[in-house]
Symmetry: C2
Subunit: 526 residues, 2 copies
């Protein structure tokens, strides 16, 4: 394991010019861990952003294969982070070792998957329209397009995925794959983890001879604003709260040069229970659902926060079963004390609402989160009550009973944008309730059938995105390979000398790309 300096990472070196110290805490005990960090100064944030901007000049011109080497090297370094590293992550997050080991594999796997995307090359979006000198009434000139990175990207680490959505997480992987150097803002909840992963990335960058400044990391509380407002930063990736994401979007929009922000924010992930499934396996669903709600102490963006069905004896029985299941769930330690405070506050809001009744869970107290089950009047969704629209981050969920199919539809219509929606149904249910799907398609990024949203596969087809407020831009995803698109923009070359074109666009097709040539896909040389 690397020595834990606690300094900011700037242009391949370490820097600690500031006087403000930050302490890493044991998430379980609240005790100070023996790791101290130095908050970045404004000058250091500036230096980190400038370093990324400078690195962009070289990094973006490396061949996709060279960038793939870098990502593969990061993956190897992450895999090599051993038990002592896992122990640190566990202390900082209170997450169990098995989860962290799994997340380590997901994080390195994610890097390797983007390396594969780079080698495949389709992310370049190469398009060629050859000259048509004889065309009437006007000739057509030669036009060629491909996609380049947008520039330096700021990434904000998520609290709940100390590896897979933090330092070397999905946003970092997508940005680096796109040819965009990163300035990473470490989350205060796992700074020692971030430091170790940052060192792993720097080792990989050195081994593969990447430009200094390809990866930079800053620590500190108020430093994010400097980062987002810095003129060198060209896009922002963020995973966190709705208020945090909204604040970043506002800052980015008010810059002299506005930039896009890809913020993954609030989602309550409705689970729709269909009648035949309830009748045939309501008890199993209750068990599985309770397990999904409390998994990782409910600290998933895709945690099922709303369970909805149509009134029936089977749904009534299911609610009793879910009540029993939720009552039996043990309290768990949250990622940090702030998370526990927010959870307690969210529960208080629910308890205080006259349209909400409490079905299961011991009164929240102590230093662990106690799983809770609520039931809310369907009127809250029909009338657009704010209470149900924002997630309560933690092991709680809310049941809603619709009087009939029409009310189910109206209630789902009342939801804002979501990362996921889940249908639990028999085949006959799915056919009978097909009319739900067009509605859900407009509300969410991912529709699941007979599963639970808390597992997010990192693959080509994943969408971890969705209409606002699930994200700030429904046209992107923050998990899966399509995430690279967020950091790319097209450039067109008109009548450009063949020999000087980027490799992706040369007649000889040296990268072996599938290209759209005169409107038809081809991997041939021209």
């Amino acid at each position: 394991m690397s020595t834990l300096l606690g300094h900011n990472f700037i242009a391949g070196a370490r820097s600690a010019q500031g006087s403000k110290r930050l302490q890493s805490l044991d998430a379980t005990t609240g005790e100070a861990l023996p790791f101290e960090f130095t908050q970045a100064t404004e000058a250091e944030v500036d230096a980190a952003c400038r370093a990324a901007e400078t690195a962009f000049g070289e990094f973006r011109h490396l061949s996709p294969a060279r960038r793939a080497e870098f990502l593969d090297a990061i993956a190897d370094e992450i895999d090599a982070l051993g038990d002592d590293f896992v122990a640190i992550v566990c202390r900082e997050t209170a997450l169990p070792a098995a989860r962290i080991q799994g997340e380590r594999g997901r994080t390195s796997g994610q890097m390797r998957l983007f390396a594969k995307v780079l080698r495949r090359g389709d992310f370049l979006g190469a398009r060629i329209d050859l000259a048509l000198p004889e065309r009437k009434p006007l000739p057509r000139v030669d036009l060629r397009q491909y996609r380049v990175g947008v520039g330096a990207v700021a990434v904000f680490g998520a609290s709940n995925f100390p590896l897979a959505f933090s330092t070397a997480g999905g946003d970092t992987a997508a940005a680096l794959a796109a040819g965009c150097p990163v300035v990473f803002k470490a989350h205060s909840g796992h700074m020692a983890t971030a430091d170790q992963v940052g060192c792993a990335i720097i080792r990989a960058a050195e081994k593969t001879a990447m430009p200094k400044g390809v990866f930079n990391m800053i620590f500190g509380g108020g430093v994010g604003e400097w980062l987002v407002k810095h003129p060198a930063i060209q896009a922002v990736g963020f995973t966190g709260s709705l208020s945090g994401g909204n604040a970043l979007c506002k800052m980015a929009a008010e810059r002299a040069q506005p930039i896009p922000v890809f913020a993954e924010m609030s989602s309550i992930n409705p689970v729709v229970l269909l009648p035949e499934a309830l009748a045939s396996r309501g008890d199993t669903v209750a068990k599985e659902l309770a397990a999904s709600v409390v998994m990782g102490c409910g600290q998933f963006c895709t945690n099922p926060g709303l369970v909805i069905g149509v009134r029936s004896p089977a749904f009534t029985a299911f609610q009793a079963q879910l009540q029993e299941q939720m009552a039996a769930q043990a309290p768990q330690t949250m990622l940090n004390a702030g998370g526990l405070r927010s959870y307690a506050q969210g529960l208080e809001h629910l308890l205080a609402h006259p349209g909400v009744s409490h079905l299961a869970g011991e009164p929240q107290s102590g230093n662990q989160a106690r799983p809770q089950l609520f039931k809310a009047d369907v009127a809250l969704l029909l009338e657009g009550d704010e209470l149900l629209q924002e997630e309560v981050f933690g092991p709680a969920t809310i049941v809603i009973e619709a009087a009939d199919d029409a009310q189910l539809k109206a209630a789902l219509h009342g939801l804002r944008g979501q990362l996921t929606a889940t249908l639990i149904g028999e085949q006959s249910d799915l056919v009978a309730y097909q009319w739900l799907v067009p509605l859900l398609e407009q509300k969410v990024g991912r529709i699941l059938v007979n599963g639970y949203p808390t597992g997010v596969e990192v693959c080509e087809a994943m969408v971890h995105g969705g209409p606002y407020p699930a994200t700030s831009d429904s046209r992107g995803t923050s998990v899966g390979t399509l995430a690279i698109d967020r950091f790319l923009r097209p450039v067109c070359y008109q009548n450009y000398p063949e020999a000087l074109l980027p490799e992706a666009l040369r007649n000889s097709n040296p990268l072996g790309l599938k290209r759209l040539v005169n409107g038809e896909w081809s991997d041939a040389a021209l």
Copy 2:
């Protein structure tokens, strides 16, 4: 030709509830034309947006082939708009008939090109990751992704392309192709033109049995704000001024549900003259460049507003030649009186600046725009003076002389984002000045060699976009087929019954798409 009612287009019918009347004017004489329009009321804007939202439910589920039929039918209707129509457009815009005839062909061609994209199907972005039930440590579920339209789109017509960037223009074509119904805000400068094209679209919609509300159009001055703030609207396309685009972006960002705005705004389109070309053909370049500057009275987004080179005897000679050319250019009538006022104001700002000298052109007066040539001190670019950063819309351009290559680089670095940059050079120049290209790539959407930016080909490889302030989002284009991407978002289906999947994602591949299956491209059935 259709009877010119002057009513708003809402849900396939016409509506004129308001009391405010708008008059179409002859652009050349300023006289009122015999066409009167009724400004949309807030209730009518609401009705138009609701109609688009309702139509979305049906329109998005039509097969791409059906939507292609609609676009082809629009193209046919536009081609059928005859001489009397062309005469109206000419009166409203003061553009010559040949230009309007050409633009008519470009507009119908654009529709047909998007129809081709629809039939090819790659815009759907189909991706399939098949289930891996045996995978360790965890199985993978079946995941499939494709792209759907974002919802109803608001489009603001451009002043300068009454056909190709207005009612049935690029943004409308891209939105309809993406499955997004349109609410079009007609430009006040060519409302009769808009009415006739709107009728053509409605005829096409009726012939191909499209849902009512697939296309709606509203007239009026203050109605754009209601449109952008309407909850049914999910994205905005705009071509116009920087202040107008910024205002729309702000409105869209401040909505309860923020939405993306694709605004194509201000660009001065630098032309870089390289030394060998200047030496060997400076006189020809001066002639061609002057023609490009005054083409269409300089009213192109890609009008070359800045001409830059390195000090040399050849560059001095070129400036004299350009001076002579520009002095010989005749005044022309602008699109409307407002445009002429803005042009005169822009000239005044240039004339008043101590760092700018006037090289050619008669004093601006009367009701036509007089072509003008200025020379600005390179210091204005080096010091980021605001004056040179915003386009003067009309037949004027500004020469800048850099002392040497280093200053040329610094001056170009001082430019903000642009739609285009042009290099005029011999092959030897282009090799010697290769170092310019990475800089230009970061500044612009399209780099041209030995051409002039004022012709924008509608094709697969075109990029008519670029970093802010050229557009509000450099990741898009508003001309060419990639424009469809702006109005699409991905949706993922997890473990979804095969028979209920959208056609694009079914095992049998009924649309014959190239799909990314388990990370490899394939058009096979599964």
